[in-house]
Symmetry: D2
Subunit: 366 residues, 4 copies
């Protein structure tokens, strides 16, 4: 009760930071779809460590291997198991942490829950567990690309106090994705990106870290995905985003600013747009009453600064003794550039699941 | 795949705004606990319409009836079914809406999904569906009160631009709850509450509506609840909150402000507090790595202004024709006072589920 | 974890023998299907007590009421809640049993599990809990009748040592059902039925009870329903049947006799039947490798004799004291006639669930 | 919706006969238990091909590798992934079958469902998928052995018409297991075993196959496992058994013979056995009202003869053309000896799941 997500397109995530392998199993992926490692690897490459000077220098190739669920490069309806073997297992780096609870990490809480933990690299609580999410997300995106026009783009819109300008004209989604991949931080506005990178480099030198905001856009969403109660599409997406390590806040459409509106200012007015029903504004963020309305889904996701610092910090050990902690070694001064593909993948898992389930909503379509 | 929530303590929600009855079934409630309608009714009374001049004047007694799962006023381990019959079923009020998609409501999206809907009172998409959540939440809170010291308090911290002052000293949780119940808006600071109520009354007269923010505090949370991957405690709470109608944003601990911090400022430093491990700050909001750390859980939940207005608005009908909509009748000018018990209930459902599951985490405790 | 069944078309069963009401909730029933109590009541009438002189004389009308999930007599995609209020609640009849564990009943095991139980009429362990199954089964059958040609017929093929003759030519399914309803025991062969009824009446006079076998036939099953691993169609059906009170054995196709065959005798040979692929024999019982092959599904379900007897029996009470038990009052001398609609309903729930899920198996059909 | 089983102790099974690897993931295994491959391998060895002259001669070492979920040889509460790589992948053996539907195999039904299949070695429908079940079963048995005195023993009680004699005195469970492992067929009565093996060898020479019956005994079952409705312990076991390839029938306690009893003969009378409550007979097979009563669980499971024969058989191909099929190569003339550990494992998965869930049944124990 924890490592699986999705109702029909179900993903079970496994693996620890320094275990043998990480990955996922996908259940109920439809049969007959072409699928090879080449469909998965590009997103994993966007997530992998060591991809630029502003990410952790841990060396991992993160090569994915499909070990079940396909035959002659096509899905056969059985569970798809994808493995990424851990390479750079410097277990010895971590003996120092064996008894120490790192501040704002999961060491203490994991120990409290299970009474036993892998102290190397965060064990199960490591962000390496997002490998399974990203791998499954690539399969989800492939299904959606075959069956719909849905497109996912996440980008870094803020790092600490450097924000993408309100005046920056957001390009169409394909160009947005392209613009993001042109810099290390994955912010489509190159000038802002430059400043963000500069800040991160400076912060890294100081042994410190910074947080920020990722904005997610999903385009061409068919109307009708989601549910009116509990499994509302926005609730499922909020869950998926908040389940990403370091996320502290999630908002959709007008989000927290909605609190300040009057209803007469906030309502999205429907109109007939050459035969199609659309809304003049999109404060709903593409979801009304828990169900997609066909407008773009737009969300902001807030990430705290990385908890791992090179700066010395006070903390306690397992015995409750107050000790000083000084982390040597590799970590991300800012998780956001690597979180971009994770946000997209997490969203894709929700969307494909609801897309498939929606096929069974109306008896006339069955 | 939509109307159930929880893994072990599972709640299935049913009912429509103007159907025969609404309510819920709880599966896997432990046997042998005293339970009668008197345990449930107080929270339903805090949620029910017509409770004050700033809520909708729809008249509903919302009396709960337990029809299964108890014997001689004790639970017997079988599903607990709770029913609230709809009383004030003015179906005729709604024929006017039959073909019209109300702006920022679920009429359009429900129709797109299911091809058929109850157009009276929002049907399944009505906030009356939260009755099942509140009823189940009272059972959840009872279990937790018997087995832990956990306490839940939600309060209105902002209505439009009127915020509870940073200088207001938040009282301890029992007094906080009491202070909230002393006014119609459920803001513990009586002076701020007065201003909020004034604003809502004014807005109501204008036929308009306002949004706001509810803050949730959970005290005395045992360390160890939640999971490291996917079903993280914060992710489950974010899902539960975002599943409440009108919610557009959720944050925990430092939330969106975390984006602006440096790691060295943001980390919660552990210390030995007379033998117990605590953190000096609580930017984590009581959850680290998806698992509770024993500090208070603190969340903010943003609500948009009610979509139903008395002011005339343009929209479209089922044929796609642009029409003007003028809603007569009863609605909440601000959903927040009635949402307070819903927020608490939604949180309690997550907490009791994770509390029970946590009993099976460590083999030494089994 | 116990009272729900089905993956997509999910049924949650609730209620106790002498509680306020029994029934079920169906989740994920497709929207837009006409549905009223008139679709449900006929099967409940076939199940209800007091329907003939060979069933218990407990008086219950077992009138079903749909309280959610429909609007203007059509499903709207939200959970369908169906209630049957208990009428003949002679709670006082049962105080005698309060402390006594009736032999081969669930009194002892329920108490061991939950530490507390409703001792009236078996409480949750009563066969009255099959009301929810039968009600849901009627909805399942309606969906299947609209979308497929599938037909369900169960009949009593054996009572104690009186078996339907191997020479009796089984009629086509519609006539089979009709023939069953022409007698109290629901055996299509009227002469055998007469003997069965005679035996039951004799047994009843002696204060004793008898067991027997129900045969289930499902016709016009589309090929492709089920799964290769775990949720095999035969495994799901075996679960559904064994979950009916008093069932002690389940077999499909050649069943237990398969143990005695050689492979060369047992294999079902495929042939081309005017363009369609069929098998010459049906020892598989319509399921191969866990998936339906388009032949009739044929199962036998063995029922033990009713545990409740008028004959005095030794047993123990809650204190462990050995006591004599003499049950006065009403009970079925043979559960089989009333179990026929339960078997059909339990099968229909499996079939509709797999039918719906199968729509998502092949990417070309999505 | 098919490859997972269990509610809390959840096992997801993956892999195909000639894919890269087979195995399983276990979710929610409690943390802190010692676990290495050495705990798993012995049962896999009892299941593996080529173990004796009466099993298939396919050469597979079936060495298990744990790739996640443990740290320093102890479970850490995260998903346990176990892999068995396929070695003897003679894919080329199977091109002959590419278009042919083998009689009483899953080729036809799999193709009907998914529209695409792995035709090598049965693909996903191969009995090799039971590797995941057996591996997970060993973990389940380990937990139960640490926390209870529960013991599992399955044995071959019948092969075609050779049955273990009613006069054979069944030894106590440890000796029963030992006696089974002293011969190739796993029948504890050595004389009967000799005859069974002789028959299988003769059948194998003829290119034919035989079926039989496996009896399962579970000893020292705590009272209270299971549920009164749907997820009854017997229903869950029936599902687990019927999900094993080649199983056509399942019975518990008196099973099919129960149909022939009178109630007064069939009821299990309770008595006080030196302070403990027991039943004088065990026609219930250890389960009453869906919940274990503390007596031994006893089940019979009927297996059909292997569908693969060396004898030529008529069948059809994908085009519907009638063709003759002659299978060269390796197959089991009788699946029973290798099915013994599968039956035990499948039962253990049900029992551990219900054991863990039962910890949460009574509020006094939480």
């Amino acid at each position: 009760m924890g490592s699986s997500t999705g109702k029909l397109f179900k993903v079970t995530n496994f693996g620890e930071s320094h275990g043998v392998a990480l990955g996922c199993i996908i259940e109920n992926c439809p049969a007959g779809m072409e699928l090879t490692e080449a469909d998965i690897q590009p997103d994993l490459d966007r997530r992998k460590p060591g991809q630029s000077k502003i990410t952790t220098q841990r060396k991992e190739e993160d090569q994915v291997k499909i070990v079940s669920g396909t035959f002659e490069n096509k899905t056969i309806g059985s569970p798809i198991t994808m493995l990424v073997y851990n390479g750079d297992q410097r277990g010895k780096d971590y003996t120092y942490f064996k008894d120490i609870y790192r501040p704002s990490h999961a060491d203490y809480t994991y120990q409290q829950k299970y009474g036993f933990r892998s102290y190397v690299g965060g064990g199960r609580s490591s962000a390496r567990a997002t490998i399974g999410t990203v791998a499954a997300g690539s399969v989800a995106k492939k299904i959606l690309s075959l069956k719909t026009s849905m497109k996912f783009a996440a980008y870094v819109s803020q790092v600490k106090d450097i924000k993408i300008s309100d005046l920056y004209p957001l390009p169409e989604i394909d160009k947005l994705q392209q613009a993001c991949e042109e810099n290390m931080i994955r912010c489509p506005d190159q000038e802002t990106a430059r400043k963000m990178i500069e800040l991160i480099e400076q912060t890294s030198k100081e042994g410190d870290s910074v947080g920020g905001i990722i904005t997610l856009v999903i385009e061409n969403v068919p109307a009708g995905l989601g549910n009116p109660v509990y499994d509302r599409l926005d609730a499922l997406l909020a869950y998926a985003m908040m389940a990403i390590p370091a996320v502290k806040g999630v908002e959709i459409g007008s989000g927290f600013s909605s609190a300040q509106y009057k209803g007469s200012e906030h309502n999205d007015i429907f109109f007939n747009d050459k035969g199609a029903i659309h809304t003049r504004t999109n404060r709903s963020g593409g979801i009304q009453g828990g169900i997609s309305n066909g407008e773009n889904i737009v969300m902001n996701i807030a990430f705290k600064p990385t908890a791992t610092l090179s700066i010395e910090q006070p903390t306690v050990n397992e015995k409750g003794e107050e000790v000083m902690l000084k982390v040597r070694g590799r970590h991300d001064p800012c998780v956001l550039p690597r979180a971009v593909p994770i946000v997209e993948a997490a969203a894709a898992l929700v969307m494909v699941d609801q897309y498939l389930l929606n096929k069974l909503a109306d008896i006339r379509n069955i």
